[in-house]
Symmetry: D2
Subunit: 142 residues, 4 copies
Amino acid sequence: MPAVMTAEELSRFMKEVFAQVADDFAVDEVGEGTLTMRLLTQDRHLRPGGTISGPSMFALADVSAYLATLAMIGPQALAVTTNCSIDFMRKPKAGVDLVAEARLLKLGKQLSVTDVMLYSSGMAEPVARATLTYAIPPRKAA
Amino acid sequence: MPAVMTAEELSRFMKEVFAQVADDFAVDEVGEGTLTMRLLTQDRHLRPGGTISGPSMFALADVSAYLATLAMIGPQALAVTTNCSIDFMRKPKAGVDLVAEARLLKLGKQLSVTDVMLYSSGMAEPVARATLTYAIPPRKAA
Amino acid sequence: MPAVMTAEELSRFMKEVFAQVADDFAVDEVGEGTLTMRLLTQDRHLRPGGTISGPSMFALADVSAYLATLAMIGPQALAVTTNCSIDFMRKPKAGVDLVAEARLLKLGKQLSVTDVMLYSSGMAEPVARATLTYAIPPRKAA
Amino acid sequence: MPAVMTAEELSRFMKEVFAQVADDFAVDEVGEGTLTMRLLTQDRHLRPGGTISGPSMFALADVSAYLATLAMIGPQALAVTTNCSIDFMRKPKAGVDLVAEARLLKLGKQLSVTDVMLYSSGMAEPVARATLTYAIPPRKAA
């Protein structure tokens, strides 16, 4: 099933509905059930020592699963996260971008399930992994 | 096992080590393995419609598990979250504080496990629940 | 909201739909959104040393969340687990029952969320904790 | 880092330490941080309709993460699961094997983190996914 929204359309949609945080993120690439995006790290995302905070990593994982879902079903501002499990495995590298690689594992009528791996740009081993479930609101009849 | 840090000491410690976010939170009460604290909601924690964002709920759950652990073992800036599972169950109420009730389920030598319930102030039913595991660095010999 | 099924009715229903495992479990008590039940430990639930296996603990947590949901909505054989997070915190005591205390945190139209604490009978500290999400099939109109 | 145990050695080790369940499983293949194994489905793993039970899926995910860890560190009967999050996404197909593909994401001194995808043999889409954390006991000095 091919994506129905491009990286540009997803970025534009994000700016419309989440104006407050849209500038923190950039969508790099959208495929069939996959999406790559990054956190544009700013001071407010950091902890002492230059490492990226847990809530900032959660935020990137969460938005990447949201956009990976929307890429397949079209703009649905009302999809909401119902569950997330996240494992923090390594300290993110200071001074480089944090990249999310999201992969949709299930797209049902009511739920999507997405796996996300987080990488510090240039490191081979993942910084964190997360799985997120989104509840999808009933589609309106055309 | 009684707590070894008071609510005031935990607040002071938070300000020292996480200066950037400490003003977002207030510690209300510390008991034996329990801690109550709140998010002092500001515009940057909100989503359109006035509801609190997922990352802000995660941040409150995370810091409450951290402080519930430190309350029992003393100041250990280096404890790090290794795992979190969180269920978002209801929309937080706009315009009221978000309150975390944290309860330490296990305090081992290497790990703590904490359950957290999040409530919108004045609502009986929880907005979200989370369980967090912290890795505790080896204690230095005295 | 009071329960609509008693402990006896839940036991009978379990025997009808899960004949293969129903004899492993006994329902002790049903309250408003709460349920207590136990694993009737047999050799096949054990690991060397007499401790209860992880899959047996998972099975007890899973069935207790299922029955806690059914207690509130009536017999729905088709409810299915969609997500579980479980923390194994202490070794279960050999030779005693494993008890589950389930508490329904959310009962929506499509999903229930239940917290479960597992105890070795007679121990104050929990052996494990779990949170389970069940997908509830659409109710048939009367 | 290459594996230090082969599929045959892992099978033999499993038979020694978990005699009660070892006949339920077969190890297919071991790579660098990866392991493929299957549940040899028997009646006691099934639910009415021929589908595989949740606890049986959990058991396969759990043992595959355990063996993926041991493949890299050698036989350590005492490694224990501390956390599992599992998403059940599709009904397993009746009458075919359930296959686990495990991938070690982190191998630290104290913890391993493993991702597991479960497939019904011959289906392209996963039946379930899980992430498991194992606590590794301190290695004895040689």
